[in-house]
């Protein structure tokens, strides 16, 4: 969803063709490693945008080169973009894979939960190290946007690490408590607190 | 580097550094400046003692300055190697009413040189500027120095009036000699006969002068053989009669000034110790850091010691300079007063190399010693202190050891009180003061609790009391500085009161005469009291309304190396008119026994110095060699209570000391005779004796009281000198207290304490601490002065102890005043505090 709207935003800034769009997006997120988007995914999204009448298509002939398709935003596209921009963004922190692993580990005891924890920590530290050291190489006078993005990533990992510390300190207590179980009376969908908009 | 660091640290705490340095300055000023005065005083005494004729090969005189037979000069005439010999009678004449006064100078005393006309012309290497030398057959003529002419305006050929032992007499100036080479008494030369008449010393001389022939190879050998020939008591060289006594006084002055200086410096030491202790505690982190950077323990020790040394050096330099300037400025002010008292001029102040050395040794030594402790503590600070977070906690120091030690000492001190042994008592008093110092921290807690319970106080006071309790040791240290100074104040005033009240009581008890006729210089034994022969005595006896009188004579005396004053009394009349207060011996028989043979009564001071007792034989150096006297009593009279003195009969003082002159008369009125009439006729009979004045007993008593007050004033002066450093210490400690709590005070300010409340809090802290010091100081001071009076009593000067009420009041006032003064700066600091900055610190 957000990739779709971001592409729409990039097109709104300046009409462009698919390849240009891909490069611009990757630059925006600071590289493929940060937000892996495949080129075919870009084209699928563009098609969907076209179908929904959010962008329009025109062909431009380049001098001496092959013909390229240039995309331009429509007025309904602009409206959608504005709606998106003027609304707050929900965070996405509940769906944590490590949490699930840990709970299952505690339930199954296939592996040592501490080992799991340390492995996770080690991985997070490596990621953090990479981002932070990378950050040192950036020029804050030219690449501030990117720096901020990296900062966000780094801060999230930091938060995760702190959370891991907390888990480590209380791991024994958690394992002594029963696992969260569905309440007997309640049936149906599990409760999701926020961020339930799903992309389908 | 260590030097740079030390300097920076000192400069970083300018106010504190200035305060501590000031305390060193003070001590050095006292040691250096006051002792610098001694040579000036000494030279003043020397002037009046040294015969100023230079170029004489021989001056032979008696050690005691007493006269001897003029016939003895003849014994030397045929001596081999002697070319010329001449007898001289030299003495100082006090002019009294007949002083020569001009616009800008007065001459109150002159030195009379009676010379033999013929031989003296050859013997004395002086030539007249105008007129002529004395010729045989001359009578009532004098030669004076040109400086005398300059000062008085008299001219050659004029007549001057001089008092003599037989009334006043006119002398014609027949010659003028060159200006005197040294400052001192003006010299007047006259015939030996005239001089002997003037001093009532028929056939007596005080010195033999002479010149050796050129053939003499070793003059020293010749002088020694002459001295040996004349025997015990004679001295060759300059006249040094009585010099020993003055020397002893001067030496004593030296010791007193040095002791006071040391006490002041000691106070300075305590101040420095406190300051550095705090400074080291504050710098824990810095020092720890230096250690982590690789500073060795030795380096840290050095830094702190150098800081102390720098302060010592600066303090000593300033002290020396200030002492020097102070003295230079003081001499012109003191000199006129001095001249009035002693008729000699103060010499130049001079600072011997020893004095500089002493000032430097103490001025540097005491700071270093007092810094040593804190420096060693600094040395022990571990590198880790730099990193450890500083936790400001309540100081739960334990003072148990100190308390126990203090109580033990206090018990010991109390026991000494029961012994009745003055020396023990005195050391006990010192112990007691020390014990109070030890106990003081332990008293803080109970005291603050007591105050809180008994008085309902405003909140600032409660906070202040809390602060005091938390910093028991610091508060106690501050209180101790107050304690010491109050102890000094109270004990000084205690002694002063005791002396004044005691002496007056004593005087009233021991003096039974209505009038006293005595020379201007009231101290017996001071030179220049020409005295008067028995003629005056007879004259007074004949005065209408006089019932009886007693005459007193005086001479310097020596027993072995011990110098003292010899008083000649007429036992019968003395007993009735004045009388000694006997400590030992039988009062009833003692006076009668004094008349028979060589018997002597000595006073307590002499008994103590020579450790003599009743029945002992004292061998005295007399005019004709050694004479043995038996001690038959120990007693004192008021006039001579403090100096070692002995009493013998008139006969004996004539025989052994050639003393025929009376220096003082005590007179009783007949019953029914009118006071005014008697006084008038007495004055009339004294007209020819200008050096004597008549005083009624009451007048004289007032005079004594005044003198006593002057003495006390000196004590007060010294007291003030000691009290000022303690103010510095108090201010210093208090401000440390505030500086250390900067953050805490800022917190209080932040949570809503007003400046006014801060002011109140600090002020009340200061007051409580200083009052506690005052209370303890009063206890110590009374104890000290009591034991000091007992100690005085042992020296034969018995006084009852009087409670120094005035001292208590003054101490309380001083305590409050100092408390307020000392709080001023810390208050300023605390109220001007930038709250945000103070809290943000670290």
């Amino acid at each position: 969803m957000s990739v779709r709207l971001a592409l729409l935003g990039l097109i709104s800034k300046k009409p462009r063709h698919g390849y240009d769009l891909y490069n611009s997006f990757i630059a925006l997120v600071g590289g493929e490693e940060n937000w892996a988007v495949k080129k075919p995914q870009i084209y699928t999204t563009l098609n969907r945008l076209l179908k929904n009448g959010l962008i329009s298509e025109e062909s431009v002939e380049k001098e001496g080169g092959p013909e390229k398709t240039i995309y331009r935003i429509t007025s309904s596209g602009e409206k959608l973009l504005k709606d998106w921009l003027s609304s707050a963004t929900p965070s996405e922190h509940q769906k944590d894979e490590f949490y699930l692993k840990l709970m299952i580990t505690l339930a199954t005891s296939y592996v040592d939960p501490y080992d799991l924890l340390y492995k996770q920590r080690s991985r997070l530290f490596k990621e953090l190290h990479r981002i932070n050291v990378d950050k040192l190489k950036k020029d804050k006078n030219k690449e501030l946007a990117l720096l901020l993005l990296m900062e966000q990533a780094s801060m999230r990992i930091e938060a995760d690490l702190r959370w891991l510390d907390m888990v480590e300190a209380r791991l024994d207590d958690i394992s002594s408590q029963p696992m969260p179980m569905p309440e007997a009376k309640h049936r149906g969908r599990p409760i999701i607190l926020v961020g339930e908009e799903e992309e389908k | 580097m260590t030097l740079k660091l030390a300097f920076r640290y000192l400069m970083g705490r300018k106010y504190r550094t200035a305060l501590t340095t000031l305390s060193i300055v003070f001590g050095v000023i006292i040691i250096f400046g006051m002792n610098g005065m001694i040579p000036a005083i000494q030279s003043a005494f020397d002037q009046s003692l040294t015969l100023s004729i230079h170029g004489l090969d021989l001056i032979l005189s008696h050690e005691l300055g007493i006269t001897f037979d003029e016939e003895r000069a003849k014994e030397l005439e045929a001596w081999e190697g002697i070319e010329i010999i001449s007898p001289v009678l030299e003495d100082v004449l006090s002019l009294g009413r007949y002083r020569f006064a001009n616009n800008d100078s007065t001459i109150g005393k002159i030195s009379i040189n009676g010379v033999e006309p013929l031989t003296s012309k050859q013997a004395i290497p002086l030539s007249t500027e105008k007129g002529r030398w004395i010729a045989p057959g001359d009578k009532n003529v004098v030669l004076v120095r040109s400086s005398f002419i300059d000062k008085t305006g008299y001219q050659l050929g004029d007549s001057i009036t001089l008092p003599t032992s037989k009334g006043t007499k006119k002398f014609k100036i027949i010659g003028v000699l060159p200006k005197k080479p040294t400052i001192g008494n003006e010299e007047v030369f006259m015939t030996l006969d005239d001089a002997q008449e003037l001093f009532n010393a028929e056939g007596k001389i005080s010195a033999i002068i002479g010149q050796f022939s050129d053939k003499v190879e070793d003059e020293e050998v010749l002088r020694r053989s002459i001295k040996d020939y004349f025997g015990e008591g004679y001295a060759v060289g300059a006249l040094d009669a009585g010099g020993n006594e003055w020397e002893a006084i001067v030496r004593m002055g030296n010791v007193i000034f040095t002791v006071f200086g040391l006490v002041a410096l000691g106070m300075g030491g305590v101040i420095m110790y406190n300051t550095f202790k705090i400074s080291v505690a504050e710098r824990k982190k810095d020092i720890g850091m230096l250690r982590t950077l690789g500073a060795k323990k030795k380096d840290i020790l050095q830094i702190v010691l150098i800081e102390g040394l720098i302060q010592g050096i600066i303090g000593t330099l300033i002290g020396i300079a200030a002492g020097f300037l102070l003295l230079k400025a003081m001499i012109p002010i003191i000199n006129p007063i001095w001249k009035d008292f002693f008729n000699s001029e103060l010499g130049e102040v001079s600072f011997s190399i020893w004095l500089y050395l002493m000032a430097v040794i103490f001025g540097l030594g005491i700071p270093i010693i007092s810094v040593l402790g804190p420096a060693r503590k600094a040395m022990k600070i571990e590198a880790l202190e730099a990193i450890r977070p500083q936790v400001g906690g309540i100081n739960n120091q334990s003072f148990r050891k100190r308390l126990i030690g203090g109580l033990v000492l206090l018990a010991l001190a109390t026991i000494t009180l029961v012994t009745g042994q003055a020396y023990l008592e005195f050391s006990g008093a010192l112990l007691a003061v020390f014990a109070l110092i030890l106990i003081s921290p332990s008293l803080i807690g109970p005291m603050t609790k007591f105050i809180k319970k008994t008085i309902s106080l405003p909140n600032e006071w409660l906070i202040a009391l809390g602060n005091i309790t938390r910093q028991s040791k610091r508060s106690a240290n501050t209180a101790v500085t107050m304690l010491v100074s109050v102890a000094i104040i109270v004990s000084t005033l205690g002694m002063a009161t005791t002396f004044t009240v005691g002496l007056m009581n004593y005087l009233d008890k021991s003096m039974n005469s209505d009038y006293l006729i005595l020379p201007e210089a009231l101290i017996l034994g001071s030179e220049g009291n020409i005295g008067a022969g028995d003629e005056l005595k007879q004259r007074i006896e004949r005065v209408e309304g006089v019932k009886e009188l007693t005459a007193i004579r005086q001479s310097d005396a020596k027993a072995g190396e011990l110098s003292f004053s010899m008083i000649g009394i007429d036992p019968k009349s003395y007993e009735r008119l004045s009388g000694l207060t006997f400590q030992k011996g039988d009062e009833k028989t003692a006076y009668d026994n004094l008349m028979v043979g060589k018997k002597i009564i000595i006073n307590g001071a002499l008994a103590l110095q020579g450790s003599y007792d009743i029945g002992d034989i004292i061998t005295l150096t007399a005019v004709n060699g050694l004479v043995d006297y038996e001690v038959i009593g120990i007693g004192i009279d008021y006039l001579n209570s403090k100096a070692p003195t002995a009493y013998i009969s008139h006969n004996n003082i004539e025989e052994d000391y050639n003393t025929y002159n009376n220096v003082m008369f005590m007179v009783n009125r007949q019953e029914g005779a009118s006071h005014e009439a008697t006084e008038e006729s007495l004055n009339k009979s004294l007209e020819d004796y200008p050096s004597f004045s008549l005083l009624s007993y009451e007048e004289w008593r007032d005079f004594q009281k005044q003198g006593n007050e002057t003495r006390n004033f000196f004590m007060y002066f010294l007291m003030a000198i000691l009290a000022i450093p303690s103010l510095i210490a108090l201010a210093n400690n208090l401000s440390m207290n505030v500086i250390e709590r900067t953050r805490e005070i800022a917190m209080l300010r932040a949570v809503g304490m007003t400046k006014k409340q801060v002011r109140k809090m600090i002020l009340s802290e200061s007051l409580v601490i200083s009052l506690m010091g005052v209370l303890l100081g009063i206890i110590g001071g009374i104890w000290l002065s009591y034991s000091f009076v007992s100690l005085m009593n042992v020296s034969g000067f018995v006084l009852e102890f009087y409670f120094p009420m005035l001292g208590l009041i003054i101490s309380l006032i001083v305590g409050v005043l100092f408390g307020v003064l000392a709080a001023m700066l810390p208050i300023k600091r605390a109220t001007n505090l930038d709250i945000v900055e103070a809290i943000a610190y670290e």
């Binding site: 340390y118 190290h129 | 580097m1 740079k4 810095d286 950077l293 690789g294 571990e382």
Partner: protein, 226 residues
């Protein structure tokens, strides 16, 4: 190389006995940048103090370039610190009465170098840490980050092989902390020092090349980050 073997440190005795370190063994190669992490009370500060010879271990061995610290007396350890170790602390611990140059020059001067020479070196290092324009400033005239830079210059000026840092950014804002972190990476990467840094801040330790986790006085895990 630092080689630590079975290091134990016990504070107090009897009832109030606290075991700060309970048998830690670790070796650190020269040129490494190691972060020691752990919750407060895990013994990480004690570990650093022992490494720097600021405290003596109750038991165990610390080998610094083949020399055993436990066999040295106070003065000898002081000399080791003076020559081979540079310290960086949380509260910078600059001497407040000395300016930047003088603070930095201090280790050299303590080692007997002439003041003039020492000041030249100090200035060089201040320039390297980016304080070329703050020579004469007193610590209280500098920002926290600048003070820590001075402290780093001071830790490096005598060319020690090892830098021991105790929460070097604990008292700094994020921005300054980042700069200090970058500087520390330079210290290790550019100037080839071995850094042992104690911190509880994951961000700070992520700049290291290796992280050692302590818990209750023992190593629980070690991560190489590259």
């Amino acid at each position: 190389m630092i080689k630590v073997k079975d290091l134990k440190k016990i504070y107090g005795s009897g009832e109030s006995k606290v075991t700060a370190l309970n048998g830690v063994s670790l070796s650190i190669e020269e040129g490494e940048f190691v972060a020691i992490m752990g919750p407060s009370g895990c013994g990480k500060s004690t570990f650093l103090h022992l490494l720097g010879g600021l405290q003596k271990p109750t038991r165990g061995e610390i080998g610094l370039r083949g020399r055993s610290l436990s066999k040295l007396n106070d003065d000898e350890i002081t000399l080791v610190r003076r020559k081979e170790i540079g310290f960086i602390f949380q509260f910078f611990n600059l001497i407040p009465i000395l300016n930047a140059v003088e603070n930095v020059a201090m280790p050299l001067i303590l080692d007997g170098m002439k003041t003039k020479e020492a000041n030249i070196k100090a200035k060089e290092w201040l320039e390297k840490v980016g304080l070329g324009n703050r020579f004469k400033h007193l610590p209280n005239q500098l920002s926290g980050g600048q003070q820590q830079r001075v402290a780093i210059a001071r830790a490096l000026v005598h060319n020690p092989a090892f830098i021991l840092a105790d929460e070097p950014t604990g008292n700094l804002d994020t921005r300054s902390a980042e700069e200090i972190a970058g500087l520390l990476r330079d210290v290790c990467g550019k100037w080839g020092k071995t850094i042992v840094m104690v911190t509880h801040d994951p961000r700070m330790s992520s700049y290291a090349n290796r992280i050692v986790h302590l818990k209750d006085g023992a190593i629980i895990s070690e991560n190489r980050l590259i």
